[in-house]
């Protein structure tokens, strides 16, 4: 979706302000939100792209004015409501008043903690040969799906070069939409800064994205 989360190339947000000796969490509740998101994901309530999509679909004004973990909380609550893991009555009372729904991987317990400290696996067997190889010129398609996608707006319609082939991966655009993993080839595609930002751009800049094959066409 063409959401406000797709920020590459936007102006007006000001300087980057690093915080000296930044703590891991600024408030205790932030750590609880992180833990709940990780636990419910691992228990099978959702996959990583679905959780991203629920943050992306927060109203733009909420997205922009909420802290990082506030967005995580709002996305998590909306997702769990939408998928029927919690009810509005639960939220209103602050306790479980509705029946639980079964989780694909069961209750998240102590034994599962070590497992989630390593990232999940996203590589899959290839359903078809790769269409592109390193060195190929490709154009990022001019597409604007209203649902979840990992093709940022700032490359759409622009020509780049395939640099690396990462094999076949779970396709975010379908998995976040309850349409299955539908594995796709994934490539690092590099664009010249002037191709993306025009002739006045700094000529020393190159920008790459990791693009799934359906995002690309031969150029």
């Amino acid at each position: 979706m063409n959401g406000v989360h797709d920020m590459g190339g936007m102006d007006g947000f000001g300087k980057v302000v690093p915080e000296l000796n930044e703590p891991m969490f600024h408030e205790e509740w932030e750590s609880r939100v992180l833990a709940m998101v990780r636990a419910m994901g691992a228990a099978g309530a959702f996959d990583i792209d679905t959780s991203r999509f629920y943050r992306e679909t927060l109203p733009p004004q909420v997205y922009l004015s909420s802290s990082y973990y506030k967005k995580w909380f709002l996305g998590l609550e909306a997702l769990l409501l939408d998928k029927g893991y919690i009810s509005k009555d639960d939220v209103a009372s602050g306790h479980s008043v509705a029946p639980a729904k079964s989780l694909k991987h069961g209750k998240f317990s102590m034994a599962d903690v070590e497992r989630i400290m390593v990232r999940g696996k996203f590589g899959r067997a290839a359903p078809a040969p790769a269409k592109f190889k390193a060195g190929d010129r490709v154009r990022a398609k001019n597409i604007h799906p209203a649902t979840h996608t990992r093709l940022p707006r700032y490359v759409r319609g622009h020509v780049g070069m395939v640099e690396r082939d990462h094999g076949c991966h779970v396709f975010p655009d379908t998995v976040a939409n309850d349409a299955g993993e539908q594995p796709q080839w994934l490539y690092t595609v590099v664009f010249d800064g002037r191709e993306l930002w025009g002739p006045d751009s700094d000529p020393t800049i190159k920008v790459s994205i990791d693009a799934f094959e359906p995002y690309l066409e031969a150029a």
């Binding site: 690093p18 915080e19 833990a35 636990a39 602050g94 102590m110 390593v118 940022p152 994205i209």
Partner: protein, 209 residues
Amino acid sequence: MSEHDHHHHDHDHSELSETELRVRALESILTEKGYVEAAALDAIVQAYETKIGPHNGARVVAKAWTDPAFKQALLEDASKAVGTLGHVSRVGDHLVAIENTPGRHNMVVCTLCSCYPWEMLGLPPVWYKASPYRSRAVKDPRGVLADFGVSLPKETEIRVWDSTAETRFLVLPMRPAGTEGWSEDQLAELVTRDSMIGTGFPKTPGAPS
């Protein structure tokens, strides 16, 4: 302040913000429904606080600076190469190490959300996840570097890696001059988090930290 007072201060319900109340309510709902074990949530937080952090990435960089065969393996398949180092955090698939050279500087961003090689670097800092960095890194990387007090020769190529999939990128910074003969442990002390994101350099030997 006694331990009791401290506890009271942290958990005094009358002082809780609306967000804190909502977060607590959700946690109650999830545990009451039997979806998550409360102690397991504590253990997740503890694992993030103690097991991961930039020290993991620093070990990998220092090893690459001293062991050419490891460096080559790292650049070919970083997940596999890091997996051979028993003392470093376990790492998932699709980690990619990218090497800075005198002619090319690499910088990592996630314009769409906050993808970050947290097994190597810990949880990302707020600035990495915030709008200014995510919006500008791909369009004006030199301007962003200036915000960090970093400047590069004007002819240096700047390569920005937007983490749009489940690949994760670790910058392998250049080894500082004046560190000939240093041990891996000594070198690891010079490797900063930002140098592995590409928004900084390693510390210079002898310079005040």
